[in-house]
Every structure is written in structure tokens, then in C-alpha cells.
Symmetry: C2
Subunit: 431 residues, 2 copies
């Protein structure tokens, strides 16, 4: 870890700078695949699946039989775990439902907003070594609560043409029927434009590698919505004298094991705390199966000592971390200083991994400093919020003049006329 | 208007197709300006202001003196109108505040979500012939309710280096102090990267021409949030036998006058209704100052006759209009069929222009079919919604096993360890 002690505020920007990943080199490859899928549909996606996943898939849709076989492979322990996680995620996201509030802004002018589910959504679940069945829970549950009519899942097959059974099991308990053996850029393009096998959707969710990220950006610029821009996963931890160093070390490692590009930032009140945590890191890292990855990620990570809590949180807000753990007995008071973060974990018994899987909050969060303007995935992400207004004659008389005057000053006479012609009619009827 | 009578569902896609606007030709120009502003700051923005707005601006920030002079120019009628609009917009957007709901998903696992204002926002207000001071109300008010700390406004100067007084007046009554005489691509780039004069912001809002649209897309791909993708303004009107044809005609014209690329769609129950509306259009258009624009826009517009209301709304949902007016006495029942729309106007006395200015709803809405996945600007647009969790020892014992099992199955041992090390500690202390 690179150590900084009481850095000056003007240095923060530089210290906190995330590595800029130049995606322009893969832009052309991605554009070619997207265009090919748009033009040639199923033919193209099968070709790329053979090329990149090493398997020729005849039938892209997972069959009920495959689903049944997969579900039979899941042991009871995992089934129970998934059931608990599902229940908590469901409970938490259900609290995000909005009731309709109708307000009469002027007498006779009734306005309100309704949350209406996005009809068709596509969930992308990466495959490979780590089958992210937890991400299917995180995306599928709010889609179901919102009431999206068509929910499709794309996830890459292994070399035998199979999907990891835990992903199919989760799809099954959520009642999601349309699972396709399709990954990478070709999956994003297929969901964006539709093919014979893959339905076109209105919004695409889910994490992925750099190719998937660029593909999502590309189709977004062509008018298909996406959940959010993506970057490598991150955690920042604030630790004061009441932290438990071995817990902090375990939390730092849980982020570092994600990938060599994982971002890990420790902000501690004193250098002694940093030293204690470092000792624990040394000890714990040895035992990790992914210790090489974690080691590399830690080399690029930061330890920053700031004694003043206000200043420390100013720095953390400038960094705008995806995950922020406050390892302190005073976590709740300190949390009031937070302005920018994706998800916040308070106190010594709230590790990030609880939120990654089972506490109920969503784990699809803004990275790369986007937490200064973006929120994580929530029930909102699966809705459009449509405004409605119902104005009666009294209402139009109350605000008509206002509209006429403003429209005229903006030089929009026909806007004014739409009011005047109605006010005239009301006048005529009243005489 | 192009007339279609009971078109087959498979033809809808083709009939409803919006003109694709190829922005690639202006991409290079925009990229050059954005890069120049990023590198050369104030020097570049002043250069482009001279080039495009025809005026050399020494001091970009509007002074208090300029503000005072502008405010003195506003007549009482307009002041009153703006006051009414402000009050209604403020009332409606205030209803969108969310209270914090804390939920114990498992015993000892407390989760909640807080809305925290985006710290720095930039509002772009186009100038030119139509000074859109109403847009400053629509963007400034929710920014103020949310509590954004820094709100800046960029709007292009006229050839004398002045801003339209109505824009300054609105800024003044909203208490927005940082107004800059800056428009076009150079304004978007300056707000995205910051210059000596213009503060860097986290999110940029507001409409603009094609250059502004492309600039917003470009800086969005570089990590600065924007309100939404933009396209030409649109209205769709559903009219049945209870509509008032002259009102419908006035509403169609109020959209058509926006620009020759405005999209206007009339869906009527019978051809007779269409004919009656057409007659009214003929009559009303003659009197419009912008009749040439409206005439051209109408030439590209659609009139579609569908007798079955369900089918008509299926078509309207497929079109996903920015504005949807239901010109019918049964508007409220018909509204239940709506899935995709930006803002909906119910009944014969709810013209779009009411919502454009003064009813209280926002007029910054998704165009170009984006209403199938995007919402209009609302209070939400100015917040990040940050999730929090506070787990105590009991809570961790309740969900710890779940996290351990799931993390292990995803091959993330360090995620598991972050739980195990804490459960171990709890066990040790309990013995």
C-alpha cells in the first residue's frame, strides 16, 4: 500500500486519481461485433459464441430440462443461503415502492406521478470462473417487484455449452424463464437490437469485462438505456482507534481479491492503525486462494493518515467510493459527513460482503467516482416515473393567464393559443 | 399530415419511425472544441464565444449590476406569471421528497436509503430567439429543493454580450448567483472539465441544439452525468368523439411551432374526427407568427385512425411519446392503458402548454422513444440515493452463514473470510 500522511488538500486529486483505462483500442472490435449482430442476428451471435466461448450452440434458450437438471445439482446449504438472501433483498427493495401523491398545485390543477415498470429488461450475468448468481438476485428481484413484463437473462456458456447450475437455480426460484446461453459483446448487441432468438429489450443491466462495458456504452449512445457506466470495483475504509484491525484487513482483502485492478483505499486516524492493519493483511493474505490477485491489487492501493475526521471525510467524499466502510464505534455520527458514496457500511460488524450477498441492499453500484452523481441499482432503475395532470375549467382559469404571458415572452404564440382558445370557450359558455 | 386508417400492427414500427438524425458529421467538430476547452480553458471558451456568438466576452460571469438592470426591465405581468409558475413547480416537486425508511431485513440487520443532493450541477439554458427562462425554473427549482450546494447556469450571450433579462430575473428570484455568458459546446465542455472561470460540475442538465446534444453525449462517455439523451420535441394526441377538435388543433400546433423537426402524432377514433381537426388546423395556422415552421412540421406528422381504444393505446405505447394528451371525457380510464410516455395530459382542459410552463410538472422529458426506459427530470435527478447498513453481532450471526456459503460458491474466499473472522470473534467473546 502506498502511504500518505496528512496530505495537503491540493494533492488529494492527484493521490486519489484512478488509473485511466483507455478503452479506445477495443472500440473498433466492439463496434464490428455490434454491427454484425445488428445486421446478421442469430447467425452472428452463434459465430461469436463459437469464436469466444469455444462452443457451437444450436439452441440458445435454456430448456426446462436443463433447468431441472441444474436445480437438482444444488445442495441444500446453498438453497437455504439463496432463500435467505432472496428474502432480504426482496424486503429491502420493496421499501422503495412509491405511493402516488396527487397534489392540487392550483385549485383545479391536479398533478401526480406514477411509477410504471419498464416493459422489457435484459440482465447480463457474467460467467467464467466466478458464476455471479448473486448478481442475478440483485437484478432479478427489483425487476420482479417493479413488474417488468419481459425479463430476459444472457450469460455465457462454458465449453460444453452449459450454464453454471447456481445461475439457473436462481433464475428458477425467481420464475425467470428466458435464459440464453450468450455472453460478451454479442449478448449486449442481441438484447439491444433483438434477433430471431433473443428479444429486444428497453434497458440492459449487469456487470461485465471491458468489452461488455464498451458495448453497453455503444448501445446506450444508440438509444437503449443501461443501468450505469462501469469500472473496476472499489472499497474505501475509514478506520479510527475503535476499529478492529483484523476486520479491516479482511474487508480490504475481500475487495482486493476481485481483480488486479480493484481499487482499495484505507483512510486511518493514525499511522499506528495503518501498521496494525498491515500486519493483519500479511497474515491473512497467505491463506487466500486468490492471493496473487489480491497482492497485486494491494500494491496499487492507498493508505492515507488523517487525524481530523472532517478532513478525512472531505477526502472520502472527493474520492466518491463505490463501497464505504466506517470501521468505528462512532460510525453513525461519522456517516452524517457522507456526501458521495455508493453504499455505506456502518461499524465493525457491517462488512461489505454482507451487502454483496445477503443484507438486502443492492450490490450493483457506481464505481470510478460516478457516486458523485449516480446511484446504485434500485427499484427506481426498473421504473419510468410518468407525470400526469388533469386540469378542469377552474384550473385553467387559475393558471391560464400565467401560461399565456410566459409563452408570449418566449415567442411561442401557438403555446399561448392552446390556452386562449380554451379560456374563450369557457367564457362563451359562462355568458 | 400523413393519414393511416387502421394500420396493421406489423406496419406500426415503420409508420412510427422517427427520422434518424445522423450526428456523426458534427462529431468531429464537437470533439475538437471539447478537447480544446479541456486543454486551454478560458482562452478556448472566449475564442469560441467570439466565433459562434460574435462577441468577445472579457468577464464571463454576470455581475450583480447586470442582474439588477435586467430585473428592472421585467414588467409586473411577467413577474406575476413567473411567481405563479415557480410556486406550482415548487409544490409539485416537493411531493417527490422521500422519507427515510429503515428496515430490519433480518434481526440485527438494519438497512436504509438516503437521498443526498448532487453537490455541483450545471444548468444549460439555450438563448437565441426563444429565451427559455421557463427551463431555468424547471431545472433550478428541483436543484434548490434537493439542496445542491453549487448551481451554475450557462447561457449564450447575444451579440452585445447580454443575457436575456427574463433568464436573469428567474435566476435572481431563485437565488442562483453563478450565471455565465457561455453557450454551445464550449459551455458543456467548460462545465464538464472546469476552467479558471467556470466551475467543474458533476451533472449537466438542459436542452440545446444538435451540437449541444452531441457534446453532452461525449462528456457523458467521459464520466460526467447528464440529465438524459435528447431529440426533437414530440406530442401524441389521442382524440375520441368527446374531444374538442379546435382544442386538439391548437395543441398540435403548439408542438409544431417548436421546429421543423417537431414530431406530431394524432391518433383518432374515426376519420371524421381527423377531418374536423384538419379544418381547425387550416384556420388556426394562418394566424401564427411561426406558421412556416409549423406548416413544415405538420407535413411530416401523422394522423392515424384506430377505432379500438386498446389497439390505439398499444400503438401509442409503442411510439412512447414525450407528451401524450388524451382528448376525451374518458381520459382517466384511458390513462390506465399507458405504459410508455414522458408526461400525460388528461381531458379537454389539460393542454400541453400548461405543463410546459405552470401546472407544476417538469417539462424536461424523454424524447425519441426513450420514454420506454427513461423518466423526465424530477427531484430524483438531483439526488444520489445512497444505501446504508448497520449490522450488529446478532445480525451478523443471522446472515453470516448465508454470506459464507454464497461467497464460497462464487469462489470468493476473502469475501467469506470477512464474515468468518467476525463470527469467530463473536464466538470467542461469548465463551
Amino acid at each position: 500500500m502506498k502511504l500518505f500522511i496528512e496530505p495537503q488538500q491540493q494533492e488529494w486529486d492527484n493521490i486519489l486519481k484512478r488509473p485511466t483505462i483507455d478503452l479506445s483500442s477495443i472500440q473498433n472490435v466492439v463496434t464490428t461485433i455490434v454491427e454484425d449482430v445488428k445486421t446478421n442476428g442469430d447467425l452472428a451471435i452463434k459465430k461469436y459464441t463459437q469464436q469466444f466461448d469455444g462452443v457451437l450452440i444450436d439452441e440458445l434458450a435454456v430448456t426446462q430440462q436443463e433447468m431441472d437438471i441444474a436445480c437438482a445439482q444444488i445442495d441444500e446449504e446453498l438453497k437455504t443461503a439463496i432463500a435467505v438472501a432472496k428474502e432480504n433483498i426482496w424486503k429491502f427493495h420493496s421499501t422503495q415502492k412509491e405511493s402516488i401523491i396527487k397534489i392540487e398545485t392550483s385549485t383545479g390543477v391536479l398533478c401526480w406521478r406514477e411509477s410504471i415498470a419498464i416493459e422489457k429488461v435484459g440482465l447480463y450475468i457474467p460467467g467464467g470462473i466466478a458464476p455471479l448468481f448473486s448478481t442475478l438476485l440483485m437484478l432479478g428481484i427489483p425487476a420482479l417487484i417493479a413488474g417488468c413484463k419481459e425479463i430476459i437473462v444472457c450469460t455465457p456458456p462454458d465449453k460444453l455449452g452449459n450454464i453454471h447450475p447456481a445461475i439457473l437455480y436462481v433464475a428458477n426460484i425467481l420464475g425467470i424463464k428466458k435464459i440464453f446461453k450468450l455472453g460478451g459483446v454479442q449478448a449486449i448487441a442481441a438484447m439491444a437490437f433483438g434477433t430471431k432468438s433473443i428479444p429486444k429489450v428497453h434497458k440492459i443491466f449487469g456487470p461485465g469485462n471491458q468489452y461488455v462495458t464498451v458495448a453497453k456504452q455503444l448501445i446506450n449512445s444508440k438509444g437503449v438505456a443501461i443501468d450505469m457506466p462501469a469500472g473496476p470495483s472499489e472499497v474505501a475504509i475509514y478506520a479510527d482507534d475503535t476499529c478492529v484491525p483484523k476486520f479491516v484487513a479482511a474487508d480490504l482483502l475481500s475487495q482486493a481479491e476481485h481483480g488486479v485492478d480493484s481499487q482499495v483505499v484505507l483512510v486511518a486516524r493514525t499511522n499506528q492503525i495503518v501498521e496494525e492493519i498491515k500486519d493483519c493483511l500479511q497474515e491473512q493474505i497467505k491463506l487466500l486462494p486468490r492471493k496473487d490477485i489480491a497482492q497485486q491489487a494491494l500494491q496499487n492501493s492507498l493508505a492515507i493518515v488523517i487525524i481530523d475526521a472532517n478532513k478525512a471525510f472531505d477526502l472520502l467524499n472527493e474520492y466518491a467510493p463505490e463501497h464505504l466502510i466506517i470501521s468505528s464505534d462512532a460510525a453513525e455520527q461519522l456517516a452524517e459527513k457522507i456526501v458521495n458514496a455508493g453504499s455505506v457500511f456502518l461499524g465493525n460488524y457491517s462488512p461489505e460482503s454482507a451487502g454483496d450477498y445477503a443484507s438486502g441492499t443492492n450490490h450493483t453500484l457506481p464505481t470510478n467516482g460516478f457516486a458523485n452523481a449516480y446511484s446504485g441499482v434500485s427499484l427506481d432503475s426498473f421504473y419510468k416515473k410518468i407525470t400526469f395532470q388533469k386540469i378542469n375549467k377552474t384550473g385553467l382559469k387559475n393558471i391560464g393567464k400565467t401560461v399565456e404571458v410566459m409563452a408570449e415572452h418566449e415567442g411561442l404564440q401557438a403555446h399561448k393559443n392552446a390556452i386562449s382558445i380554451r379560456l374563450q370557450e369557457i367564457d362563451n359558455n359562462e355568458i
